[in-house]
Amino acid sequence: MTGITSLGAYIPTYRLNKEEIGRMWKAKGGAGEKAIAGYDEDAVTMAVTAAVDCAKKGKTANGLYFATTSAPYKEKQSAAIIAAAIDLDKTCRTAEFANSLRAGTSAMMAAMDTVASGSAEEVMVVASDCRIGAPKGRFEQLLGDGAAAFMIGSKDLIATIEGTYSITSDFTDVWRMQEDTFPQAAEARFVVEAGYVPTMKEAVSGLLTKYSLTPADFSKIVFPATDAREHADMAKALGFDKSHVQDPLFSQIGNTGAAAAMIMLVAAIEEANPGDRILFANYGDGCDAFIFRVVKGVLGFTMKDRMAEKVSIDYGTYLAWRGLVPTEPPAFPPRADPSFAARWRERSSVTTLKGFKCRKCGTPQIHTIAQGVRICIACQTKDEFDIYNFADKPAKLFTYAVDILQPTKNPPGVNGVIDFDGGGRLVCELTDCNIDKVKVGMPLEMTFRKMSQSKGTVNYFWKAKPILGANSPYRPSKRS
């Protein structure tokens, strides 16, 4: 039996209130708010954080399937970046499932088959999306950012997959051409009446018929929709009572695209009791439907915890972060592009934040600008190191600087000297922190982020961020 052995999710810290969008356009804003990837985040960085959340529970994967419609590259695999960042073995299989809001479940079904066939013991499926709605449009109100991750395996399951049913439909409802920044959509009623409703109904009834089940056999149904009204109407059409419908989180995080149903599934399983049966259907160019049976409870973070630390941003900040308005270039001189050769050479430090631990004196060390270490900085021993992972080590802020001059899309820049628990120090950028609450000694964790764009590529590295407790005071301050 295959199923889910571990799961995780990531909701970015920032929120854009729908009234704030309405205020901008002198229109009625929708209800609630939507989650916004920070200025240094994208589908890949959010996927890494969700994958870390999933892998934290002591899991490692033999494969990684990444689902998104907003990969930073049209050509170059994001799954390989994510696999490297979370330090999967190079023999792991990676693949991208793209171009459809159904990509997450396509990846999940492929992972099931990979595991069932014995090709891999465990495959991680990560879905992450960061779609931008055209300013002033319906999608600007609706679309949010987020990521979810599942480990698919066959042993020690949290939830088993008891059945699946899929249909494919060549239906043009939402699309982006190669050159498009924003999704386009066909007429809303046409989309619902000719596409979404009949396709979902066909898949769900196909699943129920195939396994001789009725809605009464399920404690929860999890499915996506474009917006809250369509979601509510669909639940009714499928014959499910409101109380058995998983909250789509539209008013908290928005519609997170290819990640939306996957995030909802994480929440559903985390909230479920052992023995619960969950009907999961994901829509986009057809529909994938699943029956999950929850085997045991999940300990750890809940979706509510993940959404607890949030900071509202204003519309101008949102536009600047997404690059939707040109802004004045920094007063600093432009910096030379990083070297592809240097980044490849030092990939273990750059992508995985691995350093070195001296076999003679035991000092863990990593070069601040990610150069290799050949000579121990503490005892001068040459070439006698064990590789040492810093990415998973908590740290404390030793000293810091809030920098008005630093070129950043989220001024002022915050930088710190951070001391890792267990040894080692790094001078690095801090992110997602409230500058008024930054203080010497505060606990930090490492997070994979974008540093800058160069030569048309993304320059990813690690930053430190405050460790968020349920009542952590270290939230980013509202910037005006």
């Binding site: 007063a331 600093f332 910096r335 030379a336 070297s339 600008i369 920098d403 790094l426 950028e429 540093m451």
Partner: protein
């Protein structure tokens, strides 16, 4: 290992007015500094047998000195970050001490204001990028890297924010007071503690007045064998010690470093005191020019150089120890604060002021009966830098 002490003498020096010299190119600045030095030494350009040119950004190789029009003599460009000007003096002095040349020119220049922005560009550290060839640095500014010192110093010594800001402000106030007496300084304005404390923050706790200026400038020294110094002038100034200590980023990579001192400064000071035979720097040094790129740095330099005991610089600042009238005047010419920091020129500009002081030619800024004077630079910053100290004196022995 022999000491450089009393083997080499400075017999001529020149220094341009520092500032936004829009109408002056690299060549103009070099000529202005060099010809003042030639005149001071009583020599002409044809007497110079070899030259060392310090610059970080204003040209590469010997051709950067082409504006001087020297005729086929050996010229070498040197670079040691913010200690570049001092490095030129070291190189020229060692060549003369080795007996290879009798008369050498050390000159430093930086033309920062052609770049079109305010601030010193981050020099390329490994590869062609200030963030390293991997490009993973956050691109934080120079003030930020020295803000680390202030934040940690306040925390380490339990100084509250207001008190700490006031302490730093007094350093800037002193340097502006000194700069107001110096026609060659970029800034001549006197400021108050209140002004400095209330100035816009650049990188907490550093406000505008905690940061040095950005300017163009050049300075030059003629160095000769000490035994022939009196042939040039009656009051030559002798090199007593030249020291450099280069860090390997130990402080930025290991937890031992406290960010309330600069190890490279301490090591360079120890070397230079040993070479110059100085046992008690606070008593024996008459005046000093130190690297006040940011007021947090001048603060820790007092302690690194042994002018103040660890953690006690605040008391000396408040007692006025480092003012012109104080026990050990520091940055008598106004410092980097009022001169700005054209990297290649700064080290030699500092030596120029100490040279004037030791010859009794510092005018309104003159300290009483100086004997030994120190200059100090730090390249890089806390966690990994180049500490540099020079001691000069007006008597042999």
């Amino acid at each position: 290992m022999e000491s450089i002490k009393d083997k080499v003498a400075i017999v001529g020096m020149g220094c341009t007015r520092f500032g936004e010299r829009w109408d002056m190119g690299v060549g103009d600045l070099l000529v202005e500094a060099a010809y003042e030095a030639f005149e001071d030494a009583g020599i002409g350009p044809k007497d110079v047998q070899a030259a060392w040119l310090g610059t970080v950004f204003s040209g590469v190789s010997a051709l950067a000195a082409s504006g001087l029009g020297l005729q086929y003599i050996p010229i070498t460009r040197v670079e040691n970050m913010c200690a570049t000007g001092s490095e030129a003096l070291r190189a020229a002095s060692y060549a003369v001490a080795a007996g290879v040349y009798d008369i050498a020119l050390a000159i430093g220049v930086e033309k920062l204001k052609d770049s079109g922005y305010t601030g010193v560009p981050g020099p390329a550290i490994l590869g062609d990028n200030p963030d390293g060839s991997t490009g993973v640095g956050s691109g934080y500014s120079a003030p930020a890297s020295f803000a680390y010192l202030g934040t940690r110093y306040f925390d380490h010594y339990n100084i509250d924010r207001d008190e700490g800001k006031k302490m730093l402000a007094q350093i800037a106030v002193k340097n502006h007071q000194h700069g107001s007496l110096n026609p060659k300084a970029h800034f001549h304005n006197i400021i108050t503690v209140e002004q400095a404390v209330k100035a816009p923050i650049v990188a907490w706790p550093l406000g505008l007045f905690d940061c040095c200026g950005v300017s163009d400038g050049a300075a030059a020294a003629i160095v000769v064998r000490a035994d022939m110094a009196k042939n040039f002038k009656s009051n030559p100034i002798y090199i007593k010690g030249l020291a450099i200590s280069a860090g390997a980023r130990q402080g930025a990579m290991t937890q031992g470093y406290d960010y309330v001192h600069i190890e490279e400064n301490v090591r360079a000071a120890q070397q230079v005191y040993a070479e110059a035979g100085i046992k008690n720097p606070r008593k024996e040094i008459s005046c000093a020019e130190v690297h006040d790129c940011f007021s947090t740095h001048e603060l820790v330099v007092y302690e690194d150089l042994g002018f103040s005991p660890r953690g006690r610089a605040k008391e000396d600042i408040e007692a006025g120890t480092f003012t012109l009238q104080g026990e050990l005047p520091v940055n008598t010419d106004g410092g980097l604060k009022c001169f700005g920091h054209p990297l290649g020129a700064s080290g030699l500009r500092m030596v120029y002021e100490m040279y004037l002081q030791l010859q009794g030619k510092a005018g309104q800024r003159q300290v009483k009966n100086p004997r030994l004077a120190l200059t100090h630079n730090l390249g890089g910053g806390p966690g990994g830098g180049i500490g540099c100290c020079v001691v000069i004196g007006n008597e042999k022995g």
